[in-house]
Structure formats: structure tokens, C-alpha cells
Symmetry: C2
Subunit: 314 residues, 2 copies
């Protein structure tokens, strides 16, 4: 039995889900993978908050306690770019494998971090950074490794998709956003999601692993300009509006585009509703392969993080 001690940076929505999931799946992981997971130190902001299932003595407000603890893998789920990046660099430099759900950080500093990891002989797992619980990163890196990928087309932002689906039901944009917020599908500041920026970050991560060529052009348009009228006109021709993220090979590189697009109802991405995510990968040999599922949320994201931890350990 291999013992794997996990240092956890962050115990909010995803981190809390991760703690619960480790508890719930521990026995199965022992018997199936021969891996005994042990939760080490846990970085939190507030020591006094109730955290059912978390040993209070493991909590700390100092990241150093987590990073300098004798753990095998550091799980980063605090989000943000600057602080998270500093923590991950320190974890890598101390020879720890890292698992992160941090798409913003990877989109910005991925290349540097992967180089640092390779240099130190450790790995970074990032399945949770794109499409939550849908294992599309692994599929592209390993499952489709034998094929040349021609294009990736996806719905990568659940918030925008949820908002567009509410607008199909007759709501104006601002009311649809309010409902998304009320139901926990949009942040208090929904800009990162609605602007297409979040989808662009995820598309950048997918493109990095799918293509071996430089990005020639990136164009990002959010759903802020999508009107009810536009959605009505789409409906009149049996179509829907979706925020589509696409990466495709062009001469000498790859082009990335995020933009609202009209899709006929039979298009696989038109059928992706509410907060779902989906990716359509077109390979030269395999043709179209389609993946869909819940793109966010505490437990799906935690499951992707845990799958990465197991892959690093087993």
C-alpha cells in the first residue's frame, strides 16, 4: 500500500468538496489503486469557521505550513493568479507534485510552471481546470495522443450557457444573470464569465495540449451584446445562440476564437443546456469525438482533482 500525503491549499467550495470526497472514496481507492490517501495540512483563511469532516488541528492560515510539511502532492484550489502561482512555484521547487484547478494561472503562466515541474522531475495535474468533471484534458493528452487534432470546439463556460438558456425562455440578459446568480451559477461579479475571458483561458489550456504550433490569433467576444431579439431570430430558423470557443489549425499555427454563435438545433453543442460544458474534438484519424457533462460545481471539480491525485500516486 502506497501512502500519499496531500497538502491542501484552500478549503472553500472545491476544497471542501475535495475533503468530503477523499473521505467518501478512501476505501475504494485503497482497494482499487493500492493508494492510501492521507490529508495533511489545510490552508484556510478563517480558522474559526465550522468545517465538518476536517480535523481542526490540520488547519492553518500559513501556506508555509502546508508547503513545508512533508507531503507528496500539493492541491491548489484557492484560485487567483499571483498568490496561487507563488505557492505552486514553491511546492514544485520542493519536489512536490501539484494538482490545480486554476485555469487563470495556467492560461497565464502555464508554460513556465510546466517547465519548472519538468526541471524538478515532478508533475502538474490540471484536469479540473477545464470542463470540471469531464475528463477532456486526459482524453486529449493521452486518449487521443495517437492522432493529429484538427480543431477543438466547445462550450467551456457554464455561466454564459446558463444565461443564454434563460434568455431562450424569454428573459432579458440582466434578469437571466440575476437568476444565474441566485442559483449559484454566476459570481457576484459575473464579468470574467460573461466577457468570454474564462472560456478563452480554458480554450488556451486545451490548445496548449492539443496543438504543437503557436497561437496566431486570439479573438474574444462575450455574450454582453447578445439581445433577446437575436435569440428570437435564431429560434425562428430552428437555431440557438451559444458562446462557442474554437481552436483550429491554420497555416503556420492555430487560431483561437470565443464568440456567441448561432447553431442549428441539431448541432451537438446546441444541445448543451444550462451549466453544462462540452467539447467536440476533431481528429484527423478519429473524426469527431464529443465530451459533455457538468463543467463546474464543488463535487465534479473535486472529483477531477482527486482523479489527478490518484494518477500521480498510482
Amino acid at each position: 500500500m502506497k501512502r500519499v500525503r496531500i497538502g491542501l491549499l484552500g478549503c472553500g467550495t472545491v476544497g471542501g468538496g475535495f475533503v468530503r470526497l477523499v473521505e467518501q472514496e478512501r476505501e475504494r481507492i485503497r482497494s482499487r489503486f493500492g493508494v492510501d490517501l492521507e490529508l495533511g495540512r489545510v490552508l484556510v483563511r478563517d480558522l474559526t469557521k465550522e468545517r465538518p469532516g476536517v480535523d481542526p488541528s490540520s488547519l492553518t492560515t500559513s501556506a508555509i505550513d502546508v508547503l513545508d510539511d512533508d507531503c507528496d502532492v500539493v492541491v491548489e484550489v484557492i484560485g487567483g493568479v499571483h498568490t496561487a502561482g507563488t505557492f505552486i512555484r514553491r511546492a514544485l521547487s520542493r519536489g512536490r507534485d501539484v494538482v490545480t484547478a486554476n485555469k487563470a494561472l495556467l492560461a497565464l503562466n502555464g508554460a513556465e510552471l510546466f517547465t519548472a515541474a519538468a526541471h524538478r522531475g515532478v508533475s502538474i495535474g490540471f484536469e479540473a481546470s477545464v470542463c470540471g468533471g469531464v475528463p477532456v484534458i486526459g482524453a486529449i493528452r493521452r486518449g487521443l495522443a495517437g492522432d493529429s487534432i484538427e480543431s477543438l470546439t466547445g462550450i467551456l463556460n457554464g455561466t454564459s450557457n446558463y444565461v443564454l438558456c434563460r434568455m431562450e425562455e424569454g428573459l432579458e440578459l440582466e434578469n437571466a444573470v440575476a437568476i444565474a446568480q441566485a442559483n449559484g451559477f454566476a459570481e457576484a461579479d459575473p464579468w470574467l464569465d460573461l466577457s468570454g475571458e474564462d472560456a478563452a483561458q480554458k480554450l488556451g489550456i486545451l490548445a496548449q495540449i492539443a496543438f504543437d504550433v503557436p497561437v496566431r490569433r486570439l479573438s474574444v467576444t462575450g455574450i454582453g451584446g447578445v439581445s433577446r431579439g437575436e435569440i428570437e431570430r435564431a429560434r425562428a430558423v430552428e437555431s440557438v445562440v451559444r458562446l462557442v470557443a474554437e481552436a483550429r489549425r491554420v497555416t503556420g499555427g492555430v487560431e483561437l476564437e470565443v464568440a456567441p454563435r448561432r447553431l442549428p438545433r441539431e448541432h451537438p453543442l446546441a444541445r448543451v443546456v444550462d451549466e453544462q460544458n462540452a467539447v467536440l474534438v476533431r481528429g484527423r484519424a478519429v473524426g469527431d469525438v464529443f465530451f459533455s457533462g457538468r463543467g463546474a460545481g464543488s463535487m465534479p471539480t473535486a472529483a477531477a482533482v482527486l482523479s489527478d491525485v490518484i494518477a500521480l500516486a498510482a
Copy 2:
């Protein structure tokens, strides 16, 4: 650069596609994975047949020439149970990794072969054995490793699905089968496909990797009894008939069932048309994750085989 020499058992539809794909993807695989693929000996039945792109001096009609050659991985794409099993056992006992697309063999002798491989410290890649180019095996084994899988529901046999789709267009079963045969989507003897046996083999492989509990019941019904009338009655209620393979947890084990089922048009599996395959995985934490794509054919299957070879080498 890591050099990997491949022994190839079989150079028919899948094997021939594999040779072409290795040639086509060699440079990308060198630069991306640092793996230099070299095709070693190739087992064929007929030395005189034209095989563009294959070095004639590599061909042999003796499996021993392939298995006792100094190769790193043996790719088995001859199919069938007895002979293929003998070859794979010998490859494993000689310490070679093995990649196979052979669902019938794995369904029958998988447990024994995996034990033999583990005993010898080598691996068996079998992504190509289920759903062709759709990397669902890797998704279940690794991408969803962190979650408990509750059920798997899929369309795992492209021939039956193609036949049912032709019947939706008004053909009787026998005419639909004839068209499938004419278009290369059914064998001369379509029994294995139409009886549900092929889908049951694939379902058995998926269940083996998804669940840690014994199979309590297996029930297999093919599409031989599906009439035009039944398909018409389904259509009248906005539904279609699909050959559905399902594995679900029950008390003390898992139940497997393959049977024609009426599905409402909005069901994700109802939208799987022609020779496509799809799997809907329900995880306790991730919810429903859906995978679809081309389930068979020379190049998709070859791509899955090659992805396994890369995973073993990289």
C-alpha cells in the same frame, strides 16, 4: 529520444491503418512525446499481397518471428480468441507490453491476461477494444478514477445502430442489414453484432474497469426481434429504438443488460446515429458524463491503438 520498437500481429483493416498512422504521425510523436516509433516485424497471412507503406522485408507469416523479435511492445490486431490469446500470453511472458483491440478475448480471458501482465510487470493497453476512437477506457480508468461510478449506459455496437437507423427510414430488418453490409458497416455474418453479443463483450470490459463488485446478472437481447411496427410505434411517441447496453450497481454487485429500448428523442443516446458509439457514465460526484464518436473503422481504431502505444512508451 526513446526508441520504441513495435511488433505487429495482423495487417488487415486495423493493422494496415495502424501502419499508415504511425508513418503519418511519427514526427509529431517524436517532437511531442520524445518517442521514436519503429515498426519491427509484421505478421501477415499472405506475403504476396500488396501493402503500400510496409517494408516487405518486415513481413512474416510466423508469429514467433514477431514475438521473439527484440521489440518493446506487441500490437495484436488479428482478432479471434484462441490464437490471439496464445500470442498475447507469449508476448507477456517475454516481458513485452501489449496493445490489443480484441474485445472478445478480453471479455473472455481479460482477468487472466491482466494478472499475467501484472505478474511480469508489463501492461496491456486496450483503449481500442471499446468505442474505437473514443477514449472511454482511459476516461473511466484515470479521468474518473476519483469518483464512484453508479452506472454506464451506452450504444456500443455500431452495426446494430446503423441497422436501426435504416429501419427508421422505412426498411425492414433484412434490407437494413443488407445495406449495412454493402456499406461496410456489417460483416458477412452479422450475428455477433445483431445478437447483442458484441455489445455485451464491450459492456463487460467497461464494467470490469468501472466497478469493483461482481457481476450478478447478465441479460442479452439483440435486435433480431425488432420489427418495423415497433419502430413506427416509437416514432408516434417521439421516440426511437436503440440497442442499449447498461451496467448498474445493485445490492452486492452489478447487473449488465443489453437490449433494444425505446428512448425519447431528447435522450442523449437517441441522438447517436448510424455507426456512432456513445457512453453515458453516471458518477456519484460528477453526475452524467457523455462520450460519443466513431466506434469502429480502420483509422479511429488505429488511432486508439497508437495512443495506447504512446502511453506505454512515454
